[in-house]
Every structure is written in C-alpha cells, then in structure tokens.
Symmetry: C2
Subunit: 444 residues, 2 copies
C-alpha cells in the first residue's frame, strides 16, 4: 500500500468542522465527535446513566421526540420505545465454536451499540482519524449524520443453544427457554430458508436508513470471523406505532396498521403481554425482563389486491380503508362489535383479519407489533417483491403468537393475497446494565 502522508498532519480536524455543519441542523450530538477523534462533543449530552427501560437520553428535537435512546435499562430499547420510520434487520450465524469468542464479540457489540446509538463512530478511533496503514474502525457513511433515534435490539435464536443434530454448541442448552423452538410450519407457509432463522438477530431502527444500515454493517464488520450474516431485510415505512396519539401509519394494502397495538404507556399491558417475568420459565431466568420476537416476512400479492373492490378489501380487514374504523361503526379506536348482524351475516365478517386476531378470539392475547413495509424490487413475472416485514414482541409465543398465526393461516380471507416467505423466532434478553454486555446473564 502507498503511504500518502504522516498520520499526524492536521488535515482531518480542519476538514471536520467543515463536514459537520451543514447537515446537522438542530440535532445534537452528531458524528462530528467521531471526526474530531472520538472524544469530542458527546460528553456534553450528559450520559448520567440510571435511566429506566430504553428511555431517551437527550430530547431536543423539533417535535419533542427524543433524539438519542439509551442502550442500558431494564428492557432493551427498540421494543416499547417510539417506533422509528426505517429498519435494517439482520440475522447472523455464529461461525466460531468458541464460547469465549462469542462472548467477546457480544462485549464488543455492546460497546459499539452504545456508541452508535449516540451518533458516535462504531469504534473509538473513528472513520478517518487513525493510522493510514490500518483499516478504520468505522466505515464512514454516517459521518455528519445525527443519531436519528437509532435503537439496536439483540436476540438469540434456538439454534444458538442446540444445532440441528441436537449438539450443545456453547454449553447453553441447559438454559434454553422452553418456548424458544423454531416456529412450526403454518398452513400456506412458503418459506425461503435464506430468509429464515439464525443464531443471533439485530434489529436496527432509525429515522434515517443510512444510520440503520451503517449500524448493521459495522456490527457485521466487528463480528467478522465470529459471525456471518445469514440474511437481512430493509424496511422503509413502519406499519405500527407504539406512541399513543400518533397518526397510525399504513401498510401496502393501504390500510391503517397498528391501531390496536400495545403502546409504550400501557405499563400493565406490557407486563402482561410483552415482558417475560421471572416465574415464566425458571430454567431460563436470564430472560426475565426480556421478550420473544416473532419475525415473518410476508409478501403481498399487490397486483391482485389492487384489483379487488374497495368493499371487499374492507371486509378482508374488517375495517374501513379511509379512517380505519371497525366495519361495525365508530371511530378508529372504537372496539369492534362482532355480534352486529348485517344483511348477509356479521358486519365484521367471520373471516376478517381483525376478527380472527382480536384478543376476544385469542384468549385475551395481545402482541406488540413493530413491522415495516418493504419493497425488494420485483419478480421475474413483473410483480413487486413487496409486503410487510412483520415483527411482534410477545411474552409467550406458544400462547400468543402461534395460535393467532394459526387462526389467521387457516381462516383469514386476506391469506389469498399473502405469501409467507421468511420466519424466525428469537429470545430477546433484557436490557443490560452499564458495564455489562447484552445477554450477559445467559452466560454467567
């Protein structure tokens, strides 16, 4: 390699102030700090620690939204925290056989995640201020971008505990949660193994896709030699919000999605339906305060859907397309009346989505949805490869997600317009305390 100049020339620092200014309007802190050598402005944010569950550290944006989330807390961020608009989700397989190497990587991921969520570079040296003979410890495409409310949420797949032959890979089999098993094959599943499962997962959500992509890419870079990316998925528009009062976003069927989602302020509901409690699974007490994440890549038959009459579309869902009210009347957030009779049967049809997945038909079960719309180009037949990348956090997959998904797969009128192409289940450990690494309780 050719050397251009000695690393101590002051070139970068002067460029840095030029670089940091234009894009960073009203959002602090920025990756300016990274350019200044990794020690810059971040101190000013006041990382006092001690925040509860995924709370915001700084809150200085226009809309009163937090701009920076805390990695540390009772629960991981990215579950009940406000849903950002963009997603990069990645599943990894562990390629080492060494438990120590796995732990070491989780330690490094945790350190990097803390930095990245604060809008800092992935490593302490940064993208440009190191030795010119060395690869940088950050890839640089997020220089100058604000933290963009990045959250990173980590999970463990069933195959991390025991592989297909039942081998206990990392001396973890004894601590495998009873409910952490590969999801069953549901009716109409047409799964692509290259979009399913994985030993580990990372969900990166941010307001700027470049920031989410940057985070996943740098975690993959740090994990090189220990993990290999198995599959990844970009999402561009959230389909569910967890914030009360926020306008409900829309999925690619054109319907409001997330109306009846569990919201961040429903503490009792979160405890009942999302957070694993210590008694749930005494053999896997390390998961208390964590959750399970059910992942489903659901292709929509967009072109066929678009040719269905408005009335049919509304009856498939059980809600109006405009305002999102139940077909039984009221406003968006009114409860549906499943007993109301129309001229040809219930006004909320028996095979309507909302009827089938409603708590009243699922033993009271609710789930926290956090899905995203996706478009991955188009198929050879000219159809958009598009749909809903469904993410749901639940306390008990066996009681909440699996029966609901079964009911839907068997009876939902909407199924004709869906194709399930990816699937995975992960255990989501609780939040780490400062100084710990994510998932540490599993290894100790």
């Amino acid at each position: 390699m050719r050397r251009r100049r000695s690393p101590d020339e002051p070139d970068e620092a002067s460029e840095a102030s030029e670089a940091g200014e234009a894009k960073d309007t009203g959002h602090r802190p920025s990756r300016r700090a990274a350019l200044l050598g990794g020690s810059g402005l971040l101190g000013a944010v006041g990382l006092a620690g001690g925040f509860a569950a995924g709370q915001a550290v700084a809150d200085d944006s226009d809309e009163g939204h937090p701009t920076v989330f805390d990695l540390y807390g009772t629960h991981q961020p990215g579950i009940s925290t406000p849903v950002q608009d963009r997603l990069h989700f990645a599943a990894f397989d562990v390629t080492t056989a060494s438990r120590d190497e796995l732990i070491e990587m989780l330690r490094e991921w945790t350190k990097a995640a803390e930095r990245l969520m604060h809008g800092d570079s992935a490593g302490p040296v940064g993208p440009t201020s190191g030795d010119y003979r060395m690869p940088p410890d950050d890839t640089g495409e997020a220089i100058g971008l604000p933290p963009s409310r990045l959250t990173l949420t980590f999970g463990f797949g069933p195959s991390l505990f025991t592989d297909e032959e039942g081998v206990d890979r990392f001396d973890l089999a004894g601590r495998r949660p009873t409910m952490l098993a590969p999801l069953p094959h549901f009716p109409e599943d047409a799964l692509d193994p290259e979009r399913s499962n994985g030993d580990l997962c990372v969900q990166a959500c941010a307001d700027d896709p470049q920031v989410a992509v940057h985070a996943i890419r740098n975690l993959a870079r740090i994990g090189f030699g220990t993990v290999r990316m198995r599959w990844s998925q970009l999402g561009f528009g959230k389909t569910s919000s967890t914030t009360t009062g926020e306008e409900t976003p829309r999925n690619l069927f054109g319907f409001k999605d997330g109306t009846m989602n569990i919201t961040a302020d429903e503490d009792a509901e979160l405890d009942e339906h999302v957070w694993v409690s210590p008694e749930d699974d005494p053999g896997a007490d390390w998961l208390a305060g964590g959750s399970y994440l059910a992942v489903r890549r659901i292709n929509m038959r967009i072109e066929t859907w678009d040719r269905q009459p408005l009335g049919a579309q509304e009856e498939f869902i059980g809600r109006t397309k405009g305002g999102g009210a139940p077909l039984s009347g009221g406003k968006e957030h009114s409860q549906p009346d499943f007993d109301m009779e129309g001229s040809t049967g219930p006004v909320m049809p028996q095979d309507s989505h909302v009827r089938l997945v409603h708590p009243s038909h699922n033993g009271g079960a609710r789930i926290l949805r956090r899905g995203y719309n996706f478009v991955d180009g188009s198929s050879a037949l000219g159809d958009l490869d598009a749909g809903l990348f469904f993410l749901a956090y639940v306390r008990d997959p066996d009681r909440q997600f699996i029966p609901m998904q079964n009911a839907m797969a068997k009876s939902d009128a909407m199924m004709e317009y869906l194709k399930f192409t990816g699937s995975a289940l992960f255990a989501i450990p609780p939040g780490a305390r400062k100084g710990e690494y994510i998932g540490q309780a599993l290894f100790t």
Copy 2:
C-alpha cells in the same frame, strides 16, 4: 363480493378529517384532498402553470425547500431539480403491440403523475370515496402523507423503437436517436439481465420512500395490460446533490459523493453537458430539451473494502475520506492538482477514481449524477447485497458516459471492490406542456 353498505353513507368524510391531521404538519397540500373526494384543497395551491423547467409550485417547508414540483416545463423534473433522499426506480416492458394503447397509457401516466406530484391520489376518485363494488383508483398507502417533493421522470429505452430482431414495434424506428443503443459490454460487467434494460423507465424520487413506492405502484397498476414491470430498485440515500452549498452526501464506501456534480444553478453547464439541443440529432428532434439517462447498478464488495487501510481507500478515490478534499490538498471543492508529485508517484494516483473520470482526462466531459445507495439484503455467502445505484444524465452518451465508464472499467483501482450487476440507457424526453402527455413529440 359482499356489499357492506351503500356508497353514499357519510362515514368516510368524517373519518377523513381525523385521518388528515396528525401527520400533515406544516406541509400543504396533502392527500387529505384525496380523502375528501379528489376535489379538495388542491385548488388553493395555485397551479397557475407556466412555470419553467421543473420548478417548484409551492415553497412552504421549514428549510425553504420546495415541497411540490411541477410536472410541466421545458425539462422534466427529477433531473436538475434538488435531489430528494429516496428513490424507487422501475423499468417496464410494453406488452401490447398497439401504438394507440401505448399512447393512451402515456396519457394516463401523465395525468396520474401530475396528481401524484401534488400529493393527490393517483386517480380522480381516490382510494376510498368510490363505489364499493369497484377497485379504488388509488392504492391508499400514501393517504395523509405530504407530496414529499415527489418527482416522476420518464424515459424510453432502445427496445421501444426496435426489438432484438430489428422489428419496428410501434412505428418509431425512424425517430430513434442515433445514440440510443444498448450500452456496450464494459470490462468486468457481470450483468443480471433481470436488472438491465427495459422499454420504458420511471424514476420516482421523494423525501419519503412510501410516497415514491406509492407512485411507481400506481403507475404500474394504471399500466396493467399495457406494460409489465421488468425490474425495480429502491435507493435509500442520495449520493449526489445538485444543490450548491448543500452538505455533500456519502456513498457506502464512506466517501463524500457528488462534490464535483453539475448543480442546478449552472445553466451553461446544463446546456453543454445535460440537455440535448435541437441540432444534436436532427432525426430525433423530439428529444431536444431532453437528456439521456445512464443507469448502472454497482454492487460494492463492502466486506473487503472495510478491511482496506484508510490510506489505500483514499488513494483509490483520490480524495480524503473525512472532508473529501483532493489528495493534492485544499478543501472539498478545490480542483485537484494531477501534476503534484509525491514520494512514490503522483499524489493523485494514476489509477485513482477522481483522476480517471475528471473532465481534464475526458475531453472536458461532465455528467449530472443522481445516484442512490442501496442495500437489498445479503447474499448466500453472508455479504451485503449493497452498493451504488448509479444514475447519470448526459447530453451525449457516446462522448460523455461511455468513454468515462470504459476508462474506469479498465484502470480504476476501485474496480477490485465493484461488481456491475445492472445496466440500461434511456432517452429522456423533454418536459411536457400542460395538456400534452410526456413524450408526445415522439408520437406526432
């Protein structure tokens, strides 16, 4: 199909005001109009017409950016207009043999494009206010979203004029521009036919990906039976700006990209390098005021790049990674000094990208770049399927794009980290006048 209620019940209108409010902060007009039946607020924007080349109709956003662009003008919007952050690009093949049907569809596309760019529904009825027995004429996922600076830019591929056997498909062969031929095979091209070429193209750029996706999807829906989508590509972060003074965005190699791009205010440069002049090709005078679009899907070998030393990365490009200044010194926008000698050869290496593509080594040629970063998941080997979706507008592909791409493919040090997986060339007709359809001059 089941009928739920009579279409004249007032349910939608009351829901509409509920739906339109929360998300539509400070951006007018919104798709609220669509919900109110397609006749709503848009009159208030004052579409007086008569704007020049892709100018803004409304300018009421926070940063003084226009929020709505005009479809009509000397040139199509989406070329020299300010670059938005998100892209959905689609190539279509014409499936009808009828010239009249093709023309009729272009007419409908033009009408829809005007509506969509104003934040209105794709059709006059809208997503929810029509007959419940009919499919809506808008798919609904953009209800409530602001226009988001959407631009739609249309182009014609070589295969629209003559097919592979040389057949004159639509009586257009005689008007085919001399330079509109499939791009040659460049050294190291590894093209995927399913990501290359096409009879027509539509570039949708917007600040919100949901708005760009909504536009392409509705154009595909309108074209059903006349065209079939051949391929499509999402881009999430612009890599080039056309706005002087704007912070230069970064590509996935982490470098500022677009520094020396042609900007919207360089009228003389646009005339010299971008807009086709009437004398350029007398047999294709319909293209005057238009341009050519060279499309290259360029995969980056991200994981290998990330392991290169910082100094090597900078020498591949010929610029610093932090501030983007030429390695010969100065600031980002300083001209490089190609004669400056370092200890082991020119400071701007012979095989550096910026040297090879610089006007001084390409007969003075410049191009208007408008590319986007993309990540389409990851490969079976665990590598990100990511890179730069390169879009360049030029007046003369033979003199500007092709020699530059050849020089790069033959000598560029960066080529080791690139794989060209898609390729296409389109003729971009000039802007339409109000009442005309896009490309009308070609057919008359």
